[in-house]
C-alpha cells in the first residue's frame, strides 16, 4: 500500500462503508468522470472561467 493509499484509508473516505461504496464503482466508470473533470478544468483554464 502506498503512502497516499494509507492516508486515504485513514481518512473519512476509508471507513468500511465508504470503501464498499468505492469498490462498487468500476475503473471504467471512474475514468469517465476523471477524464471529464480534466476536460472541464482544461476548458476553464483556457477560457478563464468554467464552461456553462
Amino acid at each position: 500500500m502506498s503512502k497516499i493509499e494509507r492516508k486515504v484509508s485513514k481518512s473519512s473516505f476509508g471507513t468500511k462503508s465508504a470503501a464498499a461504496a468505492r469498490a462498487s464503482v468500476t475503473a471504467s466508470q471512474a475514468n469517465k468522470v476523471v477524464n471529464r473533470a480534466a476536460q472541464l478544468r482544461a476548458e476553464k483554464d483556457s477560457n478563464g472561467r468554467a464552461p456553462k
Partner: protein, 258 residues
Amino acid sequence: MPACASGAPSPNSKRSASAVEIWLRSEHLPPSERLDRLLGDADLVDSLREQGFAGDDWDFVVNELAKYGIAVIGGWMRRGVMSAKCAEKRIRVSTLPDAVKNDYEAVEEIAYETVAEAINHFRDDVLVPGVWDPAKGAALKTFFVGQCMKRYANVARRWVDHDQWPKREVRTDDHLVLDTGRVTGVDDDAIRHVTAQRMLAGVKTERAARALALDACGYTNADIAADLGTSLNGASSLIKRARADIRKTLNITRKGSA
C-alpha cells in the same frame, strides 16, 4: 433501468437493499473513530496541500473521489431520493422530466457530470482556500458530497432549462431527420425509411437511436452532443452503443433465419 431520479422512493426501493444502499441511508461511527477519521482527513489534506493539490497523489485522490461520488450520487438518483437529500440541505433542485428519469444513460450522464464538476469545485472552492476545517467536526467526505449536491442542482437545472433530453415525439423527429436525406426516388426513399426504422428499433434507448440517426445524417459529434445535452464523449458513446445494439439485433436475426 433506474427508477425515479427525484421525489419519492420508487417501488424498486422496496427490494432488499445492498450493503452500499444501507450505508447510503446513514453511517454511524463511534465518537473515537469519528475523531480518528477527522484527524486522518486533516493529515490527507495537509499532505495534498504540500504538493499543491497536484501530481500523482492528487490524481489518486481524484480517482477515489470519482468512485465515491458516483456511488453516492448514482445511488441516490437510482433510489429516487436525490431531491429529498438536496432538500435536507436546503438546496433547491429542478425536477427532472420523466423522459430523463426513465433513461438509464441520461441518469448516468447527469451523475458523471455532477461528480466531475464537484471534483473541480471541491479542489478550488473547498480545499485550496481552506474552507474545510476539521475543528468544526464535519468529515471531508461530507463536504465532498455537499459539493456534489450543489453541482447536481446546477447540472439538473441545465438539463431542464436547455431542454436537453429527447422529446416525447422523438421517433417522429428521427423520421424527419432521416427524411432530410437526398431523395433519388420515391421507392429509394421508402426503402431507406423502412430500413432505418427497423434498424433503429433494435437500439435499446431513444437517446442512442437519436444519436445514431443524427450521425447517419452527417451531423458532427459536437452537434449531436449539443442536441442531446451531453459531452462529446457521451455522444460518441451513445453512437457506439447504438451500433452495438444493431449489430446484436442483426446477429440474432441472422442466427434465427439460418
